[in-house]
Amino acid sequence: MYDVTIIGAGIIGTFIARELARYTLRIALLEKDNDVANGTTKANSAIIHAGYDAKSGTLKAKFNALGNPMFDKVCEELDVPFKRIGSLVLAFSEDQMETLGELYEQGRQNKIPDLRILNRDEVKAIEPNISEYVVGALHAPTAGIVGPWELAMALAENAVDNNVDLMLNNEVIKIEKQEDSYVIFTNEQQIKTKYVINCAGVYADNLHNMVAKPSFEIIPRRGQYFVLDKSEGNITNSILFQCPTKLGKGVLVLPTVHENILIGPDAEDIENKENTETTEERLCYVMEASRKTLSNVPFNSVITSFAGLRAKPSTEDFIIEESNQSKGFINVAGIESPGLSAAPAIAEYVVNMLRDMDGSFKLNEEFNPIRRKMTVFMALNEEEKKEIIKKDPRYGRVICRCENITEGEIVDSINRNAGARTFDGVKRRVRPGMGRCQGGFCGPRVMEILARELGEDIVDIVKDSKKSYIATGLTKNNV
């Protein structure tokens, strides 16, 4: 029997799994998809918000303020890219400057450090490419950017390193409450567990309703984005928000930790929890809206576009509590923005709550918070490059030409705990296919390496989900 079963291996589930691994518990981490970080975690703005935006007194405000300063340490321990680059909320009129004043005041109440209101010249000194429409900005130097799926993958790996059982392709079908425990039925197996933590993202309401009467609803709110080529990476060095208006929050322009530019999102409530399609109208809207921020947005350098779903709670605030209808079932639901920023603080809070509730948790003396470092070949100096190729010649073979990613890095991403099993899994971990050719050249080579390392046939390698086959068979000559 498991002590704790976490449902959902997104950023919240993986953070909680790793936090719980500090105790001598039997922990299961269930994921319905073929990889961790496969829902909202892989498609969002990748921002660690400073924390002025959430209404004072809400859980969003509380956990964002607590979460933001925790990122330096956890990203250091797990070797995940994180940069505190600061954010600017741009105002385009004197009215909007007033809104910035309100945000500044809210930030002060939320205890966010170092906020400043800047005039146009001061903004221009930080970001010279802002458009002519900008009249001023709210500057928050503590805001940052992170690789969100890389963080969740690192958390999952570190959790598995510390004996958490990760079970992919396990979709929860039904949950039975027993006297002091639960039985979770997945499409694969039955799992008996004392506690259940519901981190099921857009599906958290469905999961909750398996053990209790409906008390909240999660509305998938879709947002669409563009990614620009690295060659445009210097058009902004800060996160550029637009001042919120009655019409909405506006769109963002920001660099990613890998020096691409991310532009988006729009916001659209939809019905289908699987609908991550992009649409022409919405992408056009994002394109038009971003032109207000920068004088020249180089859309001829788009390398891809995507859509993600926010898990918007009907209650408007994060839902982080034990179900009052079902003891031992803990909801961590409705974690929309600033959920990523709040995640480490939420995990700590949930684990402390569970520890206090149970009363018998013992610290795991062997817990190791450090994940083995990822080698990024191109970030090494010449001596280090020589040394690593000597030790493992596979680091001397470049597979991805756009980003110069070596076979050594790809093999390592496959052979780690919670490692890559799919084409997209390799891409998200070490980036071949993320560049401007989008996998056109390296695709066949990556498939070959995956097949070799996993001991599978190249025909059986999938893109992402189990059913997302790439090859339909062998050619006539090869049969």
Binding site: L283, I303, T304, S305, I389, F441, P444, Y469, T475
Partner: protein
């Protein structure tokens, strides 16, 4: 640090021809660096025929065409390194590369020739809406999977883009037993060569679907269908004209882009129209002693022309090393005028021409019964009648050196004029 007279980056048709020609012109210290596991570049996956009609007066397959050069390269003893990636080239011609055997290589060269070729435009670059399932391939990647890895990519296929690779893959997939629904072109003509339209589509009854494009991709795990929409005269989608086609695969053949990351880092100026280096009559870039040839300069229709251009680059690089290349500051500048998209080369130092100048260019649209008019400082020096011109077929004009020799710091223009 290793030292060579000429380092050539890329062992495809461009790099091979340049290397051989440099050797024939008296340079012995040459190194060809190839990132793939064999020489020949993309030719190795082009197993169809149609290569070599101009150069060898016979029809060869891609690998056969490549093999002729590889054999010659080996016979005359030119050094090459396979599975070796160039990470960086500096403007003083230091080449940094890595491979599994040598580790990190630092090479000082007197001249460098860029012959890195091109890559395909992707789905992301053309912004097709919808979901992101498996089954969407660049045509070149599908070609590699089928012809080199022996892996089949789909059963029912739609092809977006009528470039040569798209046309050739339509036939290849059909021969492998797949059903090709059609090949879509945004224009009212195919982007590839006419002979490929005939031999790859018409001979197999594959529809060429003009003035149509894909507005959406459907499918959660694998492609399930695509939405095709008609385009009006301005290439804007006509609403209400959408048709859904069930298929499991979408191939994209939507253009090729010269791969110039190394060039940019070396400080080489890029032409916005070709997306390749600005070059002179000797295929030399703005950085002294760095040359470029083949699809890295501009995308060619025929490998034969790549070979010709690359021979010129190889010979010029040899001349540069021997101190024979005239480095006069004054030159004639070429400028595309009405109806012309680009002209290569961009600058001409007349002293370096042998007998004549070859100008390569593409027109902007389809022209019937027109002429290409070449002017030097507004004076017509040559006219060429053309019954049919399209952007998909590169135009070549040869101009006698004597027509240029008296001119310095002049501007040469080419324009399309309709005949009355």
């Amino acid at each position: 640090m290793l030292k060579y007279d000429i380092v050539i980056i890329g062992g495809g048709p461009a790099g091979l021809a340049a290397a051989i020609e440099a050797k024939k012109n008296g340079i012995d210290s040459i190194l060809v660096i190839e990132r793939d596991r064999e020489l020949g570049g993309i030719l190795q996956q082009c197993i169809h025929n149609g290569f070599g009609l101009h150069i060898f007066k016979e029809e060869l397959t891609g690998p056969e065409y490549a093999e002729k050069f590889i054999e010659e390269l080996e016979n005359i003893g030119i050094e090459y390194k396979l599975d070796t990636m160039v990470l960086d080239v500096t403007d003083d011609k230091i080449v940094n590369a890595i491979n599994t055997k040598d580790g990190v290589l630092t090479i000082k060269s007197k001249a460098v020739i860029f012959a890195m070729g091109c890559r395909e435009r992707t789905r992301g670059a053309i912004n097709i809406a919808g979901s992101r399932p498996s089954g969407v391939y660049n045509a070149g990647m599908a070609q590699r999977l089928i012809n080199m890895e022996g892996v089949m990519v789909g059963k029912k296929v739609m092809i977006l883009g009528s470039g040569d690779i798209g046309l050739i893959m339509a036939r290849r997939l059909t021969l492998e037993g797949a059903e090709v629904i059609g090949v879509l072109s945004r224009d009212n003509f195919a982007a590839g060569l006419m002979r490929n339209v005939v031999q790859c589509l018409e001979d197999y009854n594959i529809p060429l679907m003009l003035r149509q494009t894909i507005s959406k991709i459907n499918g959660k795990d694998r492609v399930e269908s695509v939405v095709v929409v008609n385009l009006d005269e301005n290439k804007k989608p006509i609403s209400g004209s959408e048709t859904v086609y069930e298929c499991d695969t979408l191939l994209l053949s939507v253009g090729l882009i010269p791969e110039n990351e190394l060039s940019r880092n070396a400080g080489i100026k890029i032409d916005r129209a070709t997306k390749g280096p600005i070059v002179n009559e000797s295929m030399e870039t703005n950085v002294n002693g760095i040359f470029a040839c083949g699809n890295v300069v501009h995308v060619h229709d025929l490998v034969d022309y790549v070979t010709e251009e690359s021979r010129r680059a190889g010979k010029s690089a040899a001349g540069f090393v021997k101190g024979e290349l005239n480095n006069n500051e004054s030159f004639i500048e070429t400028k595309p005028s009405k109806g012309i998209n680009y002209i290569v080369p961009h600058k001409i130092r007349v002293e370096n021409l042998e007998k004549s100048l070859e100008l390569f260019m593409r027109v902007r649209g389809v022209y019937k019964n027109s002429k290409l008019v070449v002017k030097l400082n507004d004076k017509i020096i040559k006219e060429l009648k053309k019954r049919h011109m399209t952007p998909s077929e590169m135009e070549k004009i040869v101009i006698n050196k004597s027509l240029l020799s008296e001119q310095k710091d002049a501007v040469l223009t080419v324009e399309v004029v309709k005949e009355a």
